[in-house]
């Protein structure tokens, strides 16, 4: 009988490339979508601002797994067959956009309102106020939770295995089924996730400590 040896571990390790790819694509899609939502959330139109809040709340109040099943089975039933990879990316983009816009909006709100007023008093247009004055300060506030969210994104790509996409977790299941040795198979999978995620957890903590350290007296 096969056991978890070098070939199996190599297979698991190679499957981690798909986890990395899913994470990067999910972060890119979610990041762009989140940026658009954040801009909409500080628009002058009250309706637009309200719509972003409601959308973000609804996505955050729905499990990612349900979003994924909707994208995979639901859209397919409607005649739009995206396949496992694209439907995973769609779900991760919606999920990422909703969480990132909440983080980024909170960071913009945390910048003192006097900064907007000061920038306006210097004659900057609204776009310039945002780009030159507000965003550089908001970035500092937004970085630690954004780094923390990267960890959530990496871990949540594991749900793609449920719709049959072969990434790290699915590869672990395949090895587990082939060898009847689930413990070493999933321990290896967990170890790889740990190595992928820990740097961002530590980065998030380090950034947060730096941020709360007093800089100017």
């Amino acid at each position: 009988m096969r056991s978890v040896g070098q070939a199996e571990l190599t297979y698991i390790l190679l499957a981690a490339r798909w986890t990395v790819l899913l994470s990067l694509a999910g972060l890119l899609g979610g990041g762009m979508f989140g940026a658009v939502l954040t801009l909409a959330s500080i628009a002058r139109s009250r309706l637009l601002r309200r719509a972003v809040t409601v959308f973000a709340q609804m996505v955050q109040g729905t499990p990612l797994l349900i979003l994924l099943l909707l994208a995979y089975f639901g859209l397919s039933a409607l005649g739009l067959d995206l396949g496992a990879l694209l439907s995973s990316l769609l779900a991760l983009t919606l999920y990422g956009g909703a969480f990132l816009t909440t983080i980024w909006r909170a960071a913009i709100d945390a910048v003192a309102p006097g900064q907007w007023e000061g920038a306006a008093a210097l004659g900057l247009k609204r776009g310039q106020q945002l780009r030159l004055v507000i965003l550089p300060q908001a970035l500092r506030i937004a970085l630690p939770p954004t780094s923390g969210f990267i960890v959530q994104m990496i871990k949540n790509t594991s749900l793609a295995s449920i719709v049959g996409f072969i990434e790290l977790t699915r590869a672990g299941q395949i090895v587990s089924n082939a060898t009847f040795q689930p413990l070493p198979a999933f321990a290896a999978v967990a170890a790889i996730y740990f190595v992928l995620c820990l740097p961002f957890t530590l980065l998030s903590e380090w950034l947060e400590e730096r941020r709360t350290m007093p800089t100017n007296p």
Binding site: L70, S158, Y193, T201
Partner: protein
Amino acid sequence: MTSGYIFDFWPVAQRWPALLDGVWTSLLLTAVGVVGGSALGIVGALFRRSKMLALRWVMRAYVELFRNTPLLVQLFLIYLGLPSLGIRLSPMLAACLALVLNNAAYTTEIIRAGIAATPPGQVEAALSLALRRWHILAFIVIRPALARVYPALVSQNVLLMLSTGITSAIGVQELTAAASDINSETFRSFEVFLASGLIYLLLNYIQRALLWGASRRLFPNQRYWT
């Protein structure tokens, strides 16, 4: 693409008893995760601030192991992996254990931050009033710490509720599993997952309302909104 598709919620609505059964199981999983995770989280936070270096490091390792690996993999390790060590759990028990351990890791970190923010003068004042050690710990350190970080605890426990659906992967018959069964019986995929998504959304609002309601009883002096 979508032209010609006729939405039909009836086959899903007809199967409401299965969905309701699923909801009860989801709620049970959530309750176990919230209560177990909070209790372990308080103990964990105290261990993280223990005088013993070994205890602090063990706790730190536990927290980082559970926070940096997916719940799905933790479920597989507990349900499929533990039997080879002679520990065989039912899907339900394995799910409860995974949710408690997972939630406790996050809760530990949240409460640790709350305890770290205790003004030293509070404990000194309590000592000078000759309060007992246990009283200081419970009423001067832990309770105000919980009050301080309560909003973060609410968010974490709602995320826990939303993640209970992942236990369907090891065969727990909760809401997501019930929805998947209905999907394969009726092929009304969009309708059934939309309906279950809305149920989760509703549960999310109910849980928030309950937890914020509880905060008024637990921490009547804390003001969360100004």
